[in-house]
Every structure is written in structure tokens, then in C-alpha cells.
């Protein structure tokens, strides 16, 4: 199960002015209208369906892709579909300056890497992280490389509990260890 290195193409969730979009809430990630869906595989097609300029994301995203987004990603509702929809699309990880508290927990508990970085806002502003760039991420050390633009940057390494749940592959397996 252990997986430390991720490599993939990034999607930078920015607006028309090229700024990282902040406060993307769970209603924009996964709209209320589809909350009755209980099957994970069917949630992917609604990912970011309510986010201005990104409705076609599920069609464009490829398995292994990564997302770079603005601060407070996943603010709002506790709906786990807002994490599940990315799992369904096989997005490999999300990097943001900060996350909504419950969103972060939901992702951690799903064994889905959500990583915080103080640098991404600046890097996006300077044009050093652009949609389509290939990056390598070590989720344990936090070391990252932009292969396309040939430079390194950092994200905060996973916390102890996040790492433990990630390594066993999600909360339920972690829960079994607790019992």
C-alpha cells in the first residue's frame, strides 16, 4: 500500500485573471443537487460542476492528475462527495495553502493526499506553476519538483496521523488497527 512518490500533470484552479481561486466551497466542488447519489463511481462527473470556468474538468482530467488551488479549499458542508468525486476521477492529490477543516479530515480519512503549501500562491503568480506542468511530489518529505520548468519547491509534509491513515489506505483500516 505504501506510496510516497506521485508524478503527474497539474491543473491550476485559477480565474480569468490567472489568480488562484480562493474559498472554493463544497457547493462549488459538488453541488447539493447530486447529494442523493451514493455510488462513488458516479460522482466524478459532477466534480467542480459548479465552479465558474471549470465545469468541463471531469471531461479533461486524466487519472493521476493533480490539482493546485487557492486557500480554504473545501470550505463549507461536511459532504464527503466533495472528496469522493476526485477519487472517482482518480485525481492523485490536491495542493493548497489551506483547506476547510472538515474537508481536510474527510480527505485524510479517505487516504487521499491533501497537502498544504505556503509557496503555491506565489509560484502560480510568478507563472512557475501552470496547468499542464508535470510535477513530482514526495508526500512524506514534502519535496516537489516541477519537471516541465525544472525547479524544486516544497509542500508541508503529512502530519503523523495523516501519514498513518494514508499508509494503511484509509480510516476503516486505521480503525481496525485501533480495535
Amino acid at each position: 500500500m505504501e506510496r510516497t512518490y506521485f508524478t503527474g500533470k497539474i491543473w491550476v484552479l485559477s480565474d480569468l485573471e490567472g489568480q488562484l481561486i480562493e474559498n472554493i466551497d463544497t457547493d462549488q466542488i459538488y453541488h447539493n443537487a447530486f447529494l442523493h447519489i451514493t455510488e462513488l463511481a458516479k460522482m466524478g462527473e459532477y466534480a467542480l460542476g459548479n465552479l465558474e470556468g471549470w465545469k468541463d474538468f471531469p471531461k479533461k482530467a486524466q487519472p493521476g492528475d493533480m490539482i493546485i488551488t487557492g486557500r480554504n479549499f473545501g470550505a463549507g458542508s461536511s459532504r464527503q462527495q466533495a472528496v469522493d468525486c476526485f477519487l472517482a476521477l482518480q485525481v492523485s492529490l490536491i495542493i493548497a495553502p489551506s483547506f476547510g477543516a472538515i474537508y481536510f479530515r474527510n480527505a485524510v480519512n479517505s487516504g487521499f493526499p491533501v497537502l498544504k503549501s505556503h509557496d503555491v500562491e506565489r509560484l502560480v503568480l510568478e507563472g512557475k506553476l501552470e496547468t499542464g506542468d508535470q510535477i513530482n511530489v514526495n508526500v512524506l518529505s514534502g519535496e516537489c519538483t516541477n519537471v516541465t520548468k525544472d525547479f524544486s519547491f516544497g509542500v508541508l509534509p503529512m502530519s503523523e496521523v495523516q501519514h498513518a491513515i494514508f499508509q494503511v489506505g484509509g480510516l476503516f483500516r486505521y480503525g481496525n488497527e485501533l480495535r
Binding site: 476547510g100 474527510n106 480510516l171
Partner: protein, 417 residues
């Protein structure tokens, strides 16, 4: 160095002294779920366990889409009823009771010094009673049903001192909107927010619930008011058990302390599409809207319905707007009914809906069309939340909404009573 409320209660639960930043594994006193129990049941069944570990700790309230608006929602409700019956879960509240946070409080589950988890982001509400209460996800709720355990990171605490008295026609909602507007929607991410000061002490429990509820909109893990005589009186005949209040030590370590003088606060409005896009009502007065909502877990209690009725009594709702009033629970509905408020509101032209979440989450009972604007007493104005993604939501106090529906435009409530 002393401990904050959150450090202290999590130390008690963990059986060792912990500080902000530590991670604990604890057992909650109650775990609350609502219509999402249908999805949680599916997760639970995947675990291959036959019985929930502690049925008496599980509280389920159907409130999100009640009564069911589609066959799928009806099926979800049905599967929950069957599960509750098969598992011997006695704390089940079917579709006629009201919003989970109001019902949970009225039924006496929210007791000072207890720890509550809920699969709903506004579980922070019970901080109004001195409870450590936090929202969790679907998998976590299933896991707690199965194991009775959860991991939590002990939050740092942001203290907000409220001094003085609010001016006339300014309410608890205006305080929390002002704070969120000043501080931002992520100011309290992963943090506890502790409200104190004589302004907090002077507040009714219903008003404290408004602030604790919307602490979630600052990103808070939990909110907290020190419990006092008001809390104990409310719980006297309804507490589900014996409880021991927990208070922060005087020398506790806070991440930051903010101070607000309540006498300087004006009516506030959160503008589209984020809760922290807050302006004084005077800056948006005159904005036309199509639908008003008075209710939700934030502002659907007796004191909110009273303010609304006091403003609308003998007046008529503007013909350009439709006004949906949703008492937060059956109990609050009955109180407003006996007081004559509901008759006043119906005469004014309001529609009274059954207790529940109503149109707040855009699933039924007043969905917005493209281009429409809503003025609501709810806690969220995210783009598209109440229907079309091309609709807009403004948030305000019941007084501001009531004064506005007479004009059909956002209106300063000061002087309207």
C-alpha cells in the same frame, strides 16, 4: 500554564494531559447524523459488522429533505427507518420534528462538558451550551458507529471577547457576520472559537446558538460559550444525563484574542458569494430580491420568529417577493403558533413551511431560478447553493429580512419596530 476548554475536555476524554496540536483518540458522548445516514449506513455495511457498537449514543434526525421530495430521497429515508429499527437506535427523530441541531438541543443531548460529533458542518452549534461539538464526514460517522472511537487534533483556540450591549434592532446575526467579514472565512480553520465577555453573558441561548452555529463559517472546529445559569435552567428538565461543565483556565494559552464592542455594531449583510463578503446594511440598501427565507439552524427559533412578526404585523409583503418562513422545530413552531406570530405572518403574505432545512440547501421548497436573488437568515450564500448557479444569496438577521420584505428591497431594520 492552564488549559483552554478544548484542551481540558479532550484531556479528560483521552485520559492524559494534552495540548493544542496533539492528536487524541477518544470516544464521543453522542454522534448525530441526518438524511445522510442513508449513505453512512452503506459505509457501515461495507465494514462487515452486524451491529453498531453503542446504539444509545447514536442520534438520527431527518431534516434535510422532509418530507421526501423525490423517490430517491424517500428510499433513503426508508432505509434509515429500517436500519434504526433493526439496530435498536431509540434516539430517532422522523421527518416531523425539525432541524437536527434544534431538536438535538431541545431534547437535552447538548450538555455542558460533553463531546458531540455530527455528520453536519453546523454541529459547532452546541458550543452554545458549553459542549465540544464538531462536524465530521460520512466515513468517520460510520467508523464511530462501528468502533465508538475517533481521532481528533486538539485545536488551538481563538478567543473573541464581546463587550457591551447591542443597539436596538441589531442582533446576534449581525455580530457574527461582522466578525466573519472582518476576519475572513478561513480565520479559524482547525481552531476552536471561544466567545466570552459581558456581551456573551448577556446573550440568550438562542442568540448564542447563532454565533456557535456560524463559527463553522470561519472554518472553526468548534465554538464555545462558558455555560451559566441560563444553560443550566434550560437543561433542568431535559438533560439526558448528569453533566459536569468545563471551563477554560484563566491562564490558558490562546492563539489570539479579538475584542468587539457590541454597541458599535450595525446591521450587517453577507453579499454573494462568500459569507465573509460582509457589508453594513446601509451599503446594500435598495438591492431588489425575489425570495426571502426566515428560518434554518441559524435563525429559525422563537426569538427570530418574534422579531419577524413584530416587524410584519399589520404590514404586507411586497408583491415582488415571496417569503418563506420555516420554524426550526416542531416545538418552536408550536410556541410561535400559540403566540399568534404565525397568524400575523400568514396575514402579511408569508408562506409557513414545515420545520426542516427547507430551501437552504437548494434541494426543495423554494429553489431559485437563474437570475433570481434571495435574502436569507441562513448561514451560507455559496454560489448556486439554493438552486441555479446563476442565482445570488444575501444573508442577514431576521429583523433585516423582515424589514426588507415589506419594501421588496434590502432595507435597514433600524426604526422598523
Amino acid at each position: 500554564m492552564g488549559q483552554t476548554f478544548s484542551e481540558k475536555i479532550l484531556s479528560q476524554k483521552a485520559g492524559r494531559e494534552v495540548r493544542a496540536g496533539d492528536v487524541v483518540t477518544i470516544s464521543p458522548d453522542y454522534v448525530l447524523t441526518h438524511d445522510n445516514s442513508a449513505a453512512i449506513i452503506k459505509e457501515f455495511q461495507k465494514l462487515g459488522i452486524q451491529k453498531v457498537r453503542c446504539p444509545q449514543k447514536i442520534v438520527i434526525v431527518l431534516d434535510h429533505v422532509v418530507p421526501a421530495s423525490t423517490e430517491k430521497y424517500a428510499q433513503n429515508h426508508k432505509s434509515i427507518r429500517e436500519f434504526v429499527s433493526a439496530q435498536g437506535i431509540s434516539h430517532f427523530y422522523d421527518v416531523h420534528n425539525g432541524i437536527c441541531h434544534q431538536v438535538f438541543s431541545e431534547e437535552g443531548f447538548a450538555m455542558p462538558g460533553t463531546l458531540v460529533l455530527g455528520a453536519d458542518s453546523h454541529t459547532t452549534s452546541y458550543g452554545a451550551f458549553g459542549v465540544f461539538s464538531a462536524g465530521i464526514g460520512r466515513s468517520e460517522a460510520a467508523s464511530v458507529w462501528a468502533t465508538e472511537k475517533i481521532w481528533l487534533r486538539v485545536p488551538e483556540t481563538l478567543k473573541i471577547v464581546l463587550d457591551g450591549q447591542l443597539p436596538k434592532d441589531v442582533y446576534a446575526k449581525d455580530i457574527i457576520l461582522k466578525i466573519i467579514g472582518d476576519e475572513g472565512a478561513d480565520r479559524a480553520n482547525y481552531r476552536a472559537v471561544e466567545f466570552s465577555g459581558d456581551g456573551a453573558e448577556g446573550m440568550s441561548l438562542a442568540s448564542r446558538l447563532v454565533l456557535a452555529n456560524m463559527a463553522a463559517e470561519m472554518g472553526a472546529k468548534n465554538g464555545y460559550f462558558p455555560p451559566d445559569e441560563k444553560t443550566f435552567d434550560f437543561l433542568k428538565d431535559r438533560a439526558k444525563g448528569i453533566y459536569q461543565p468545563v471551563y477554560s483556565d484563566p491562564d490558558a494559552d490562546y492563539e489570539d484574542i479579538l475584542e468587539y464592542d457590541l454597541s458599535t455594531i450595525e446591521p450587517q449583510v453577507a453579499c454573494p458569494h462568500t459569507v465573509d463578503n460582509v457589508k453594513p446594511v446601509t451599503a446594500v440598501a435598495g438591492t431588489a430580491f425575489h425570495q426571502a427565507v426566515i428560518g434554518t439552524c441559524t435563525n429559525g427559533r422563537f426569538e427570530d420568529l418574534k422579531v419577524t412578526a413584530d416587524i410584519l404585523r399589520g404590514k404586507t409583503v411586497a408583491s415582488s417577493v415571496r417569503v418563506l418562513v420555516i420554524p426550526a422545530s416542531r416545538t418552536e413552531y408550536l410556541k410561535a403558533l400559540h403566540a399568534g406570530f404565525l397568524e400575523d405572518l400568514v396575514r402579511s403574505g408569508c408562506i409557513i413551511l414545515n420545520p426542516g432545512c427547507g430551501p437552504c440547501l437548494g434541494a426543495h421548497q423554494g429553489v431559485l431560478a437563474p437570475g433570481e436573488v434571495a435574502l436569507s437568515t441562513a448561514n451560507r450564500n455559496f454560489r448556486g447553493r439554493m438552486g441555479s448557479r446563476d442565482s445570488e444569496i444575501y444573508l442577514a438577521s431576521p429583523a433585516t429580512v423582515a424589514a426588507s420584505v415589506i419594501q421588496g428591497k434590502i432595507t435597514d431594520p433600524r426604526g422598523s419596530q
